[in-house]
């Protein structure tokens, strides 16, 4: 009886402790720290960590007069963070399947939907995931695992893919062709 009573009291306690972790699990933010050990092997590293606070400060510095910056401002306005980890290696086999699996495991969580999955033995795997909170987009994740390169992009917040597509061709980014196709269809 005593043991049962103790259990009844302990259970809410455990739930209370576990609550922040449960809440975090529904967040679009991915834990990319597990990839940090690859930095030692990588030839080139891109590590971007822009949280909500930094994002707001950066947005203030984006000019409304410059067309490119205005587009970026529109895109990032309302976002809660952008996190990127990209490793470029000199040789193949520098990262393992387990490294990718740590990210994939998080993307199997509730709300995440895989939109694109390109699997190629030669060129590696590319995956695009989106987090949906009901009808709202809560985040985006891009996982590109090539022979000598591993890239994970994590955008937290209501990212607009149309606006993101509009950025193509800017800052030296190659054209995606999404908008062009649409326009061509409209013209027809």
């Amino acid at each position: 009886m005593k043991a049962l009573f103790r259990m009844k009291l302990t259970m809410p306690l455990i739930l209370l402790i576990a609550l922040p972790f449960v809440v975090q699990a529904q967040d679009a933010r991915l834990q990319l720290g597990s990839l940090d050990h690859l930095a030692a092997k990588a030839n080139e590293i891109v590590d971007v960590n822009v949280d909500e606070r930094l994002m707001k400060v950066a947005v203030k510095l984006l000019s409304d007069k410059d067309a490119d910056e205005r587009d970026v401002k529109k895109l990032v306005d309302g976002l809660k963070g952008i996190y990127v980890k990209s490793f470029e290696f000199d040789s193949e086999g520098q990262y393992t399947a387990a490294d990718i699996e740590t990210i994939r495991t998080q993307l199997r969580g509730p709300g995440w939907t895989r939109l694109v999955n390109v699997m190629s033995k030669k060129d590696g795997n590319c995956e695009v995931y989106m987090l949906f909170n009901g009808d709202q987009v809560g985040g985006l994740a891009v996982l590109v695992a090539e022979e000598k390169e591993l890239t994970v992009v994590n955008i937290v917040g209501p990212v607009d893919l149309d606006k993101l597509a509009k950025l193509e061709g800017q800052f030296g980014v190659p054209e995606l062709g999404i908008e062009k196709t649409k326009k061509n269809d409209d013209e027809k």
């Binding site: 009291l9 306690l13 971007v48 510095l61 590319c126 993101l164 999404i178």
Partner: protein, 167 residues
């Protein structure tokens, strides 16, 4: 020998039964008031558990508030109320106004006043963040472009080959 004694305690009892009665009789129920031990050890576990839960909730709340405040944007500046031009019928000519006042109203766009409000440290931090943001967006669109090409079945190598043939 009659067994009446065993049923209703009448008649002569058997000596062995009597002996058994005497032995077991000491264990007979004897009504007496309930004695509660004075020095009983109190169980504090439920109280400790409740207190720990409350403490944890308070700590969690405190941490959450702290994180929230840290990530919250700096307090917004008081919006400057720019005197708006009174509505005038299109047909009526525009009345002559003080030119200096008009200039102030026009040359104070909201977005101009915000960067100047940033401190030097915030500005440096913002510029670094802006640079990071651009890198992140560049890489994101680059990777999305790569994925798009792959889904379309056009590999960069093929593109180069095609360009060669055309050129």
């Amino acid at each position: 020998m009659k067994d009446d004694y065993l049923w209703d305690k009448s008649g002569q009892p058997d000596p062995e039964i009597r002996k058994l009665e005497d032995i077991l009789g000491t264990l007979r129920y004897q009504p007496k008031p309930l004695e509660i031990p004075v020095s009983r050890r109190r169980n504090y576990f439920p109280l400790i558990a409740i207190a720990a839960s409350l403490l944890l909730a308070l700590v969690a709340g405190g941490v959450w508030l702290r994180v929230r405040n840290q990530s919250a944007p700096p307090p917004p500046q008081e919006a400057k109320v720019v005197p708006t031009r009174p509505k005038i019928d299109d047909a009526t000519p525009e009345p002559i106004r003080d030119k200096s006042k008009t200039t102030i109203a026009v040359k104070r766009p909201h977005h101009k006043s915000v960067p100047s409000a940033l401190t030097k440290r915030e500005r440096e931090e913002g510029l670094a963040a802006k640079q990071q943001l651009m890198i992140a967006l560049r890489l994101t669109t680059e990777k999305l472009s790569l994925i798009h090409r792959k889904t379309q079945g056009i590999t960069p190598a093929n593109q180069i080959k095609n360009q060669h043939r055309v050129g």
